[in-house]
Amino acid sequence: MLSAVAIGIFAGVFSTGFYLGMADMRFKTAIKTEFSHIRIQQKQFQAEPSIGLFVDGSQNILNQLKKIPEIEGASGRLTCEAMAETAHGNLGVKLTGVEPEDEKKVSDIHEKLIEGNYFTGKKGRIPQIIVGSGLAEDLKLKLKSKLKITLTDINGNVNARLYKVSGIYKSNNTTYDKLNVFVVRDEFLEQSALSDNVSHLIAVYLKQGADAELVATQLRKTYPELEVLTWRNISKELALMADQMNQLMYIFLVIIMLALCFGIINTMLMAVLERKRELGMLMAVGMSKFRVFRMIILESVYLSLTGGVAGIIIGFASIKYFEKHPLKVDMFSGFEMYGYPKEVATILPSESLVSMTIMVIFLGILSAIYPALKAIRYNPAETIRDE
C-alpha cells in the first residue's frame, strides 16, 4: 500500500514537473526567440507583411520606449521575405535586419549560436549573416560560406547581395531555424533601399511577462496610428497553451489521483476483509461503529500521508535534479519542428506541492469511506467465528 501510494504520487509529481518544464521551455523559446512580449508595427503588417509597411521614425519611438520602467529592452527590426541561394540549392527565408546591441536585449539568438559569433562589429568586404542550423544543413553552409540573398526592394527592383556566414544558431524550433536569417540593420537598409529611421516592427521585451497587456494598453494610447500586439495576439497557440497550462496540469493530476484513489479503495477493502474477525471482535467488546469508522479512515490517511509524502519528496527531488541536468528526450525529437525542446528541464512551483499534499489527504479520506462503511456493517456475532 505504502509503496503503491509513493510510486503513484511520485509519477504524478514527476510527470507534472516534466509537462510544466516542457511547456515552460516552449513558452520561453517562443517569447525570447520568436515573438518577444510586445510588437509595434503598421496596422496591416500582421496580416500582409510587406516591405513598404514600415514604422516611420522608429528611432524616436525606441528612445521613448526605453524610458518606460517595465521595459527591459526594445529593438527595431527590418524584415522581408527573401531567397537564400548557394551552389547546393535555394530556399525561401525571412530576412531580418537588426541592431545587434538592441536585439540582444529582446532576443536570445546570440546565446543560441553553435558555431561562430554574433555580429562582430568588424565591417568586412562581404557583410555578415547569421543563419539557423536547419538552413545551414539544407544549403550545406558552414562558417565563412557565401550565401546569396535576393529580395525585392522598396522600389520593386530585384536586388541580390552576397553575405558571409558569421554564425550558425540552433533554437528549440527547427522550423524557425530553417526560415530565419539575420543581418545587421545597415546592410538590410542598403539592400532594400529603405531610408534610415524606419523599422517594420519594434520588438519589446518586458521585465515581467505578466505586464504585457498593461504595457500594451498604454502603448496603444501613445501610438494610436500603429498596431500594438502582445504575444497573445501574435500566437493564439501560445496563448492557449499558457491559459491551459494550469488546467491541463490539474486534469493530469486528477487522472493520476483517481487511479490512486481506486488503488487505495482496493487496498483498504482488502485490509477490511482480511481483518474481518479483528473488526468483529472490536465491535463485540464494545468499540462503537463511529470509532471503527474513524479508525479505518485514519489508517487510510496515515498510509496515504506516509506514502504520499515519500512520493512527493522523491518526486520533488527528481524534479530539482532534472531542473539542473535537463532530461534528454529523444522520443520527442519530432516535436522540435513545433518548438518543443529535445531536452526538458523539469519545474514545479512549490504551491503545487501544497495542493498535492492536500489532495492526497483528501483522497485518503474519500477512498476509505466505502471500506469503512463496509466494516461497520459487519455483524460481530458472525465475524468473530469467521475462519
Binding site: 479483528e278 471482535m281 467488546v285 464494545g286 468499540m287 462503537s288 461503529k289 456475532a381 468473530i384
Partner: protein
C-alpha cells in the same frame, strides 16, 4: 444476587421461509459468582444463546435482563456501550489484535472505556500477573502459544471489570495442559474475585469444573443441574 435473567427467550432464524427455532422458550437466571457451563450437541443453540446474552444478537421474543435492565430496549449505540462496561468476552479463536503486544491487547479495552493511562498500565500489569504471563507483557500474540493467547484473552475480558464473562468454547483450540492451566486460572478468578463465568462448551474438562451445567437440545433447556460442591 441475581445478575442475569432470561425470560421466555426465543430466537427463530429465517422466520418467513424455513423457520429454525435456535432458542426455544428459555427461562434462566444467573447469580453473581456462578461458574456455569452450557452444553449440548452442535446446533443445539449454545452459541446463539450466548450471543443473545452478550447483546450481539437480538431475540425474536422474550427478555434479557441484566441488573434489571432489559437489553431489548437498547438501541445499537447503547448496546455497544453496555457491552463495553458490563460484559467480558472470551472467544474460541482468542481474537487478539496481532499488531499489539500482550499488555497493549489488555489495555486497549480500558482505553475504549476512557480510563487514564497510569491506571491502565497498573491494571494491565496486575491482570498479566493474575493470568501468570507477566514476563510476556511485551510479546506479540504470534509469539505466544494458544494457551497463552487465551489467557491474555481472559485478562482482556477482565480488564473492563465486567459483571460477567461469556466464554464461547474457550478450550476448543487448546491442548489438555493449556486447557487445564486456563481453567485453573478461571476457577481462581471465580473463587477469589467472585467473577461470574458462563461457558458454552463441548469440553468434558470444563464441564467437570462447573458449578452448574445447563444442557440445551434443539434450543430448549433440557436440564439445569447445580453441583453439590
Amino acid at each position: 444476587m441475581k445478575i442475569l435473567e432470561l425470560k421466555n427467550l426465543h430466537k427463530i432464524y429465517d422466520e418467513k421461509t424455513i423457520p429454525v427455532h435456535a432458542v426455544n422458550d428459555v427461562n434462566l437466571a444467573f447469580e453473581q459468582g456462578e461458574f456455569t457451563v452450557i452444553v449440548g450437541p452442535s446446533g443445539s443453540g449454545k452459541t446463539t444463546l450466548l450471543n443473545i446474552i452478550g447483546g450481539l444478537d437480538k431475540p425474536t421474543k422474550g427478555d434479557v435482563l441484566i441488573d434489571n435492565e432489559n437489553l431489548n430496549s437498547f438501541n445499537s449505540k447503547k448496546l455497544t456501550l453496555f457491552r463495553l462496561r458490563n460484559i467480558g468476552f472470551v472467544f474460541q479463536a482468542y481474537n487478539l489484535i496481532p499488531v499489539l503486544t500482550a499488555k497493549e491487547n489488555i489495555e486497549f479495552i480500558m482505553q475504549l472505556q476512557g480510563i487514564p493511562k497510569s491506571e491502565r498500565n497498573k491494571r494491565s500489569l496486575e491482570l498479566l500477573d493474575e493470568v501468570e504471563l507477566s514476563e510476556k507483557a511485551k510479546v506479540r500474540p504470534a509469539k505466544l502459544s494458544g494457551g497463552q493467547q487465551q489467557r491474555i484473552a481472559v485478562a482482556r475480558a477482565l480488564a473492563s471489570m465486567p459483571k460477567f464473562i461469556l466464554a464461547d468454547e474457550p478450550t476448543a483450540n487448546l491442548d489438555s495442559k493449556s486447557a487445564e492451566n486456563l481453567l485453573q486460572i478461571m476457577e481462581k478468578l471465580n473463587r477469589d474475585k467472585n467473577m461470574t463465568f458462563i461457558f458454552s462448551t463441548h469440553d468434558a474438562r470444563v464441564v467437570k469444573k462447573a458449578k452448574r451445567v445447563i444442557t440445551l437440545e434443539d434450543g430448549k433447556v433440557v436440564s439445569d443441574v447445580i453441583s453439590a460442591s
